[in-house]
């Protein structure tokens, strides 16, 4: 696994092809770190010259903004923009739909203009350009259902890139009854990830896991580290962790290629 930072490239007087925005979950959360590493393996395999900000990266401010703290969000945004613009970053890829949405939509009016990709879009491009192949061996014939992350799907209308990648794995893609624009949230968005839910009769991730289990899947695929946590917890709640796996699409692609 080769990971270089923007500072490394800068010292060499070079500019990488793309900046990989790892995000806070992808940097610190044990489960999400596996997604980060799977994606890095894919980038390495496709010989993509990418860099991370490393210790110069800071929270995009998405969670703070959605919790209502516009001050903190804009402070974070302006700090990050200063770093990104300092390195003359043009192109960003991230595995986190929340970072994707914030960088793509909310940074421009504060002075940060970048071309931003979700990792499923980026991998799709790599395949279309002939830089990456999927040599599927292990997943053929498995039943997979895809849970649309709100900030990728409804928020930015990216529905096809993740599905295209899943179909390329030669698996049986089964849609949940609520999918694409009508998909149900996993319960983590809007800063819910960081607080206890309000009083109700069920947790949202339990309801969404029910949707997923109705398709009788071998694997629940996601494209968001927070959705991954919520769905994994839902599967544990149902005591199905021996039968149903929750995986990010990057992990599935890396696995299919024995990376």
């Amino acid at each position: 696994m080769t990971v270089k930072t923007m500072a490394d490239y800068f010292a060499e007087g070079k500019q990488p092809e793309v900046l990989f925005w790892v995000g806070s979950a992808g940097s610190y959360d044990d489960r999400a770190k596996k997604i980060t590493k799977a994606f890095v393996k894919i980038l390495n395999k496709a010989n993509v010259e990418f860099a991370v900000l490393g210790t110069e990266e800071s929270s995009t401010g998405d969670a703070a903004k959605r919790a209502g703290n516009e001050f903190l969000f804009q402070m974070q945004a302006m700090m990050n923009i200063e770093v990104l613009n300092g390195y003359e970053v043009k192109k960003i890829v991230t595995c986190d739909p929340h970072s994707f949405n914030t960088l793509k939509n909310e940074y421009p009016s504060l002075g940060g203009n970048y071309e931003v990709f979700h990792h499923t879009q980026f991998i799709q491009n790599l395949i279309n350009e002939g830089r990456l192949e999927i040599n599927d061996t292990t997943l053929k014939g498995k039943r997979i259902t895809f849970h649309d992350p709100c900030y990728l799907g409804r928020a930015n209308e990216v529905y096809e890139s993740p599905r295209d990648l899943i179909r390329r794995l030669g698996v049986d893609l089964k849609e949940m009854k609520r999918n694409k624009s009508s998909a149900l949230c996993c319960g983590a968005g809007g800063a819910q990830m960081f607080k206890e839910p309000e009083k109700g009769d069920m947790d949202i991730n339990i309801l969404r896991t029910k949707d997923a289990l109705e398709t009788n899947p071998n694997i629940i695929a996601t494209g968001c580290p927070y959705c991954n946590t919520m769905m994994t917890d839902g599967i544990k709640f149902n005591e199905k962790e021996d039968q149903v796996l929750v995986k990010d699409i990057a992990e599935l692609i890396a696995e299919a290629n024995n990376l």
């Binding site: 992808g26 210790t55 959605r66 209502g68 703290n69 939509n105 409804r154 309000e198 009769d201 309801l207």
Partner: protein
């Protein structure tokens, strides 16, 4: 005396339209209490949205049964209005079926025949709607906010339509010369036997009575709109036109905050700077919204446009799992409070007198606001592009930035972001540790 009916008709029409215009003025005044927001860009896309979503009902049919029935009532409503034009002219001029000779017997017959078929279809659709609201256990019609006036309002509208359609058919069935001509009475002819044995005079009286009640009913209905959820038949058009065109995930960046943050981050800024000589003393903006006047006018237009169908609430993950949040209630509360503020202004000679109430707490509780996952399901579902999420976000901003009233765990999360640039308590120096682990 010969012109007495014409005069009475003209007076009724004048009063009906006069009251309506007055209501519309009040409505417009209330909407303008909202803050400014620019929604005049991309005119062609806006027109396209209005044509597709309001005129073309494209989002209604996502739920096929109610969408299909709604289109029947909607088409019926629009097309039967052509007949209302004739009725108004007949009433003013003292003529009878003015368009018949102008349009020619065959074409006029075709039109009226179409209206009759539509009228019966509307009746059938309205019956199904009534059953759905009152007999079937459809969850979105049974929510807490749908008790009392909200429930009655929905039913009154249906009764109105039944009465109007029945009067229209009765009026045609008892119009002897129209029935004798036998063109266009495709369905009303089957009602004629009901009036067998009545004298010609009685039948004429019934026809006149039905005619009068029908048009007076329409004028009353027109004025009922302002007090009802039924305003959507008018406001769906401007509402879809002025709706947000940006990606749903993009929340606005508060400009008032940007100014302060820039000043804070500017190394050359003088922290002890005095305001420049002659500079206007401006009271700083309130951050976020605690009352309707802190919202923008599109959000207020949204509130008046909402017809309380509840598709938003039935797709809300928080509501589906038993939390108090209901996006429909957010819209209904906003409208109720706005109406209250409007009445306050009317009662105090054009000026709002503090009534010790506001949208936050008195209508919408923090518990509702904090249950939102910002997933945009409600925004996606709304058949007329209402955005309840933007109101929830503006109110959260008030809670956090003006009152520091976030839930404790969120305060901890925000402190972490402030101190170490992550939502958890990890050092920024450890951000790249994953690359060294295996």
């Amino acid at each position: 005396m010969e012109y007495l009916p014409n005069i009475i008709f003209a007076l009724a029409l004048f009063a009906g339209i006069g009251f309506f215009v007055n209501n519309i003025k009040k409505l417009s005044r209330n909407i303008k209490l909202g803050k400014d927001v620019d929604r005049n860009d991309n005119k062609s896309e806006r027109f396209k949205n209005m044509a597709k979503i309001a005129l073309g009902q494209s989002k209604m049919v996502k739920r096929p049964l109610s969408g299909f029935l709604h289109i029947i009532v909607y088409v019926g409503f629009i097309i039967i209005n052509i007949e209302v034009l004739e009725i108004v002219l007949d009433g003013l001029l003292g003529t009878h079926r003015l368009f018949q000779p102008i349009l020619g017997e065959a074409f006029y017959g075709f039109l009226i025949g179409t209206f009759e078929i539509l009228a019966v279809l509307v009746l059938l659709a309205v019956i199904v709607f009534w059953l759905r609201r009152n007999v079937s256990n459809i969850k979105r019609f049974l929510s807490a906010e749908m008790k009392g006036w909200a429930k009655n309002d929905g039913n009154y509208i249906l009764y109105f339509e039944v009465v109007l359609m029945t009067l229209f058919l009765t009026m045609n069935a008892t119009d002897t010369s129209f029935q004798e001509a036998g063109v266009g009475n495709v369905l009303s002819q089957y009602l004629v036997p009901l009036f067998d044995g009545f004298s010609a005079e009685t039948i004429h009286t019934i026809e006149r009575t039905a005619w009068w009640i029908h048009i007076l009913g329409i004028l009353v209905f027109l004025n009922y709109l302002y007090y009802s959820k039924h305003l959507h038949i008018l406001l769906a058009f401007p509402n879809t036109y002025f709706a947000n065109l940006k990606p749903k995930g993009q929340f606005n960046n508060l400009a008032s905050v940007t100014n302060e943050v820039k000043l804070m981050m500017d190394p050359d800024a003088d922290p002890y700077a005095m305001p420049e000589e002659g500079a206007e003393e401006t009271t700083p903006d309130k951050f976020g919204a605690s009352d309707v006047t802190d919202l923008n006018w599109v959000q207020l237009l949204n509130a008046y446009t909402c017809t309380e169908c509840g598709r938003c609430t039935s797709s809300c993950p928080a509501n589906l799992t038993g939390k108090k949040l209901s996006p429909r209630k957010i819209m209904m509360d906003t409208r109720d409070r706005l109406e209250e503020v409007g009445r306050n202004i009317d009662a105090n000679k054009g000026e709002f007198k503090d009534d010790g109430k506001q949208l936050l707490n008195d209508y919408i509780t923090p518990e509702e606001l904090w249950a939102c996952t910002s997933c945009n399901a409600c925004v996606e579902e709304c058949p007329v592009n209402i955005d309840p999420l933007s109101i929830i976000m503006d109110m959260r901003r008030y809670l956090v930035m003006e009152e520091s009233a976030a839930p404790q765990e969120l305060n901890m999360m925000m402190t972490n972001v402030e101190n170490n640039g992550a939502m958890w308590q990890y050092s920024q120096q450890d951000r790249l540790n994953w690359a060294k682990e295996d």
